[in-house]
């Protein structure tokens, strides 16, 4: 569940940073892009011939939505590759060699490297030094020697002291047991591993629509206590066979039932979609992983949630589109039996309506984009809120209306999914000419009108290069650059990744003065089984102010002092 959160956070940052680049790729592609990226793929001192090297936009949102397949080059007999006709943008480059270990050096610690290039740039020397992966294989059975089929087997990597290490290996979803109970995990970095199946205790793992058996976390050979797990040594290119696991009985699942009712009248409400989620921690009323099956309350307002393992949960009404009401999630705990009589209360919500306007352009073609923008509203409340999935469309005339709001401070942002067109960012939200930070106070049942959402548009570009002093940048040092407009109306900085060469860029900036700050990043990939390292708060390592004008480009160089030890990203 923690990993789920983290993935979401990463995606959000990435979206705000790089969609500009991908948008620009789309435009550039019309005039036949001429950029290229080349390098060499090596295994030790031997070149790796005939492998695919794949280029994908580094922004995961853009990757999901792209309408062209990922670009690909194949290495020649000397291991050299060359990706051509690459549009300007930020990309992840990775050799597709699943049985080998590719160092995780992209901005978000995925295998491969990040490269940001401008139109027509020829980038050379994006080399990869790989090592052979190791293999762990074995069989999973239960206490009665029956084969366990179709269950994922996972590993955790540990150091000499038994501490968990982050791992990143290929294809985390492929390693499930087959009909003989056999599994085979490959492409593992050399090291020490513990192998397990099942869910860690209190993992908050939530299943939807499936009530079959789930297994409690069981390590090789047959223990639930991680400290008792046998450690498997994996060498580069080696194979650890016979790593069998014997699991216990599947854990029993339970059912929660109840009704969805109108909080005022007490009347049952039919045909509402409901969902549930695990509570993030025992003492915090915050949702961890959540979801829904699509099931709706029946004519008596009744709902039913299947497949619950012991733990703390909340159930709520799911709003995938704008509704004019909100629900108060009901919290419950499953211990050793089914639970019934739950009640999800639904209340008529408040609303906010107003106008969205664009600042920074009079061009009708630019202004026409307003209906492609979507807003999101966040209500800051005490206690537990139902998640809101819907985003709010802006009409062609700029008008918008947000309904079904809980009372509280309502913050409004531009939705990042799908990405807004290039150059647009939220400047401020006003009510009666007064800027509303951090949000608009909305009372219960209140309809707030006349809210002005000001969206900025710009075409300025900042490109930059990091230079390093008092040390050499190692591949595991990753940086993000934030660019904040020095104008009280610009609340959010924009972010850029720093690529393997120390390059970064942002397009579509509004004219104005910006403060540029380089921040170190830490963290690792979120492969299953990988522990999530404690995230060090980013400390700025370099700073500079620049002035950006529309339709122009600023090139800057920032110097990062690697001598100051405490400023380095922690491993």
């Amino acid at each position: 569940m923690r990993s789920l959160f983290r993935t979401a956070a990463v995606a959000a940052i990435a979206a705000s940073v790089t969609l500009l680049a991908s948008e620009s790729s789309a435009q550039q592609s019309k005039k036949e892009p001429s950029g290229s990226i080349s390098g060499r793929v090596m295994l030790g001192d031997k070149p790796v011939p005939r492998v695919a090297v794949i280029l994908t936009p580094s922004n995961p949102v853009a990757f999901n939505q792209q309408t062209t397949p990922p670009a690909r080059a194949t290495t020649d007999e000397d291991g050299n590759y060359r990706l051509t006709r690459v549009p300007a943008g930020s990309y992840n480059i990775v050799p597709f060699t699943p049985a080998f270990v590719v160092p995780a050096e992209t901005s978000f610690a995925q295998p491969g490297k990040t490269v940001t290039l401008v139109d027509g740039e020829e980038v050379d020397g994006i080399d990869f030094s790989m090592s052979r992966g190791g293999v762990i294989t074995g069989r999973v059975t239960d206490a009665d020697s029956r084969t366990i089929i179709g269950q994922n087997v996972r590993v955790t990597r540990i150091d000499e002291r038994g501490q968990r290490l982050p791992i990143s290996y290929f294809s985390p979803f492929a390693f499930s047991t087959d009909d003989r109970g056999m599994y085979r995990i490959y492409g593992l970095p050399a090291g020490r591993y513990k192998v397990y199946i099942g869910d860690p205790p209190n993992s908050g793992i939530v299943r939807f629509g499936y009530a079959g058996g789930a297994y409690a976390q069981t390590f090789h050979p047959d223990v639930s206590d991680e400290s008792q797990a046998e450690v498997i040594e994996v060498t580069a290119g080696g194979e650890a066979a016979g790593v069998n696991i014997k699991v216990g009985r599947p854990t029993k699942n339970f059912v929660a039932t109840g009704r969805i009712v109108d909080a005022d009248s007490g009347k049952p409400l039919a045909n509402l979609q409901y969902g549930h989620g695990g509570l993030a921690s025992p003492d915090q009323p915050r949702l961890g992983a959540f979801g829904w099956t699509g099931n709706r309350s029946n004519e008596n307002g009744e709902f039913r949630i299947d497949g619950l393992s012991p733990g703390r949960y909340a159930a709520f009404v799911v709003a995938t589109e704008q509704l004019d009401f909100y629900s108060e999630p009901t919290m419950f705990e499953i211990t050793d039996s089914d639970i019934s009589g739950l009640e999800i209360k639904v209340r008529r919500g408040s609303s906010i309506s107003g106008l969205a306007v664009v600042e920074g352009s009079d061009d009708p073609d630019v202004l026409a984009n307003i209906s492609k923008l979507e807003l999101r509203a966040f209500v800051q409340t005490e206690g537990l809120s139902a998640p809101t999935m819907g985003s709010i469309r802006i009409n062609a005339d700029g008008s918008f209306r947000i309904t079904g709001l809980r009372a509280g401070k309502v913050g409004i942002t531009l939705s990042n999914y799908p990405p807004p067109p290039k150059g647009f960012s939220l400047l401020r939200v006003e009510r009666d000419g007064v800027k509303q930070t951090p949000g608009i106070d909305v009372g219960a049942g209140q309809n707030v009108s006349g809210v002005l959402v000001v969206i900025g548009y710009g075409t300025g570009v900042i490109r930059g290069q990091l230079q390093f002093q008092n040390g050499e940048r190692t591949p595991d040092m990753r940086f993000m650059v934030s660019m904040r407009r020095l104008d009280e109306t610009s609340p959010m900085p924009v972010w850029s990744e720093v690529d393997a060469r120390g390059r970064f860029s942002v397009e579509g900036l509004m004219a104005g003065e910006y403060e540029i700050v380089v921040n170190p990043m830490s963290g690792s990939s979120s492969a299953p089984g990988a522990p999530i390292p404690v995230r060090t708060p980013p400390k700025p390592v370099a700073k500079q102010n620049v002035v950006v004008a529309n339709n122009s480009e600023v090139e800057i160089t920032l110097v990062v002092d690697l001598g100051a030890k405490e400023k380095q990203p922690e491993r």
């Binding site: 062209t68 690909r72 597709f96 009909d179 309350s297 039913r304 995938t320 979507e374 799908p418």
Partner: protein, 586 residues
């Protein structure tokens, strides 16, 4: 000639042959469906997920998932009246039966589902240099059932990735024939990490394209090894375009775009689009050369569903761009069920006890009738039938229907039979049972009236050779043909059922009356159609049925509420059919 001999017959509870799920005694007004999931040896399958879902309901609110206990038992409680499907999921297992259409149950039924170990196909994938192809997706599409009948709209249902040795092992396969492909049919396949083969055209076993793919036949419980594939690694083409038109009320629901082979309906590729905020572009990668049909469909089985008209796409050596798929609302058929109760004077003998049948236990099925007019042939993505459950007032609605001709097929409680199916607004309209109902694109038919009557009869029995030194053909169907001359063209009076290998047949929901019984050999061609049209739908075929049935002249009179069981039907060929094989379904 009615021969009433008591024979010991293994009575299949279902009238659908091939279904071995057994229904035991049903008590009225029960609220639970209970049952047991067992393995091939009858051993309980513990902690298996069982999904119980109301049939013919749009969207949801009708499903629940239960785990079996240590003894393989499950209990789905608090069910509203209605018909339910029961589906068990046990990794690596398949249901022993392979029903063409699912079996349904009502609260009170006790269900035993026997699951058997699915079949296995294993092998390796190597490239032209003989090196293993690693982390490639290998999928199996079931193109024929266990009887070798082609399956329309086959799509890759089971897929696995090759390991670092290039080895793959696809398990949990239902008996049948499969084509196996590396990188085939990217149906609903999401990948957050790029694959090395993403835009490659699929390579089919042994190392070929789809049209030359070698089929692999596997039976549940068996393994076929050595399915070694030489990967071609050819770049496929991209088929892309935009969606336009109406996208329904809830744009967040999404649309799937499917590329299929027009003749087999086999799915080559499909993609899912969220349609959020003006997202209208689609692209399917890795498409090999070929002729396809492309269709976009918002397929939730609910009101306000929408789809595009299918379009032909020819891919030949290059990408195909700029395809515009215009979405339009799908059609629906709604209406009402009326039940003519028995008169008090008719409540005697077999009809003495009230059946307790409920309107909610009625499911209306709109079945595509493709042979009626070739021009109305459905697009490959369209389901062959859609169900709509009736509510307690008898009102029903069948959503998501594309343009085409449909037959209305009520699935009824045993005590009811169909009197008529009419468009009530136009009383002159002939009974739709004999003509079917032609639906234009997006048409909403709202006034269908299905009149049912209480007191249905049923007939169960067994077909045996006419004498000791004759035999029965390997496959045949039993037909009930109305014996009264004035009913000769009343399609609703015709009934038919496939006969199982043991000769047992069962026909329910029959109007009381006199029938001619005919056991008719099924030709090989006819048998190859998995979902045959009812023979009586064609006027010429009806005439032939009449003639053949009269020639054999086995008459049975079924009274109101009568359940004739243990009926023994001697297999006889009609006099003129002895020279040539019967051909009633041209």
């Amino acid at each position: 000639m009615l021969t009433a001999i008591a024979v010991c017959v293994l009575v299949l509870s279902s009238d659908r042959v091939g279904t071995l799920a057994q229904k035991e005694s049903a008590k009225p007004r029960e609220r639970a469906i209970t049952g047991r999931i067992t393995g091939e040896f009858g051993q309980p399958l513990a902690h298996v997920g069982v999904n119980v879902r109301r049939v013919g309901m749009p969207a949801s609110g009708a499903g629940m998932s239960i785990g079996t206990d240590e003894d393989g038992r499950f209990r789905a409680d608090d069910l509203a009246p209605g018909m339910y499907s029961v589906f068990a999921y046990a990794a690596g297992y398949v249901t022993e039966a392979d029903p063409v259409e699912r079996q349904t149950y009502r609260p009170g039924d006790v269900v035993t589902l026997r699951m058997i170990k699915g079949g296995v196909i294993s092998g390796t994938v190597t490239n032209s240099s003989g090196e293993p192809v690693i982390a490639a997706r290998v999928s199996a599409s079931r193109v024929r059932d266990a009887e070798q009948r082609p399956i329309r709209g086959a799509s890759p249902t089971n897929s696995r990735q090759t390991d670092d040795l290039g080895a793959f092992r696809i398990y949990g396969l239902q008996s049948g024939s499969y084509v196996v492909a590396v990188n085939g049919g990217t149906a609903y396949y999401y990948s957050s990490s790029p694959g090395g083969y993403d835009a490659d055209a699929p390579t089919y076993y042994p190392s070929t394209t789809r049209d030359a793919a070698v089929e692999i036949t596997v039976r549940a419980g068996e393994e076929v090894n050595g399915i070694d594939i030489k990967y071609r690694g050819e770049r496929g083409h991209t088929v892309s375009g935009t969606l336009s038109g109406v996208i329904g009320k809830n744009p967040s629901r999404g649309v799937s775009v499917t590329l299929a082979y027009p003749t087999s309906g086999a799915i080559e590729s499909s993609a899912y689009l969220s349609l959020r905020a003006g997202e209208r572009g689609f692209a399917l990668y890795g498409v090999p050369d070929g002729e396809y049909e492309i269709v976009a469909r918002g397929n939730t089985g609910a009101e306000n569903d929408f789809a595009s008209a299918p379009r032909r796409v020819v891919v030949k050596g290059a990408d195909v761009t700029g395809i515009e798929l215009t979405l339009a609302p799908l059609g629906s058929i709604s209406g009402r069920i009326l039940v003519e109760p028995l008169l008090d004077s008719e409540r005697k003998d077999a009809c003495k006890t009230k059946s307790g049948a409920l309107l909610e236990e009625t499911v209306m099925i709109a079945r595509r009738d493709e042979r009626a007019n070739a021009k109305e042939q459905s697009s490959s993505g369209d389901p062959s039938y859609i169900e709509g459950a009736a509510d307690d007032k008898g009102e029903f609605k069948i959503y998501g229907l594309g343009a085409g001709r449909y037959r209305i097929e009520p699935r009824l409680p045993e005590s009811w039979y169909v009197r008529s199916i009419m468009l009530s607004a136009t009383q002159k309209q002939p009974d739709l049972a004999s003509t079917g109902l032609a639906l234009s694109s997006g048409q909403r038919v709202t006034d269908l009236t299905v009149t049912l009557a209480e007191g249905a009869a049923g007939l169960r029995g067994k077909v045996v050779p006419a004498s000791e030194n004759t035999s029965v053909p390997p496959r045949f169907r039993v037909h009930l043909v109305p014996a009264e001359a004035e009913s000769a063209d009343d399609v609703l009076r015709y009934a038919e059922a496939a006969v199982g290998g043991d000769g047992v047949f069962s026909i329910t929901n029959l109007a009381p009356g006199r029938y001619l019984l005919l056991a008719r050999a099924v030709t090989d061609d006819e048998f190859m159609v998995r979902t045959p049209r009812l023979v009586a739908w064609d006027a010429t075929a009806r005439t032939k049925l009449q003639r053949d049935a009269k020639a054999v002249n086995v008459v049975v009179e079924l009274h109101r509420c009568q359940r004739l069981t243990d009926y023994v039907l001697k297999y006889q060929t009609p006099p003129d059919a002895k020279k040539r094989p019967p051909k009633t379904n041209p």
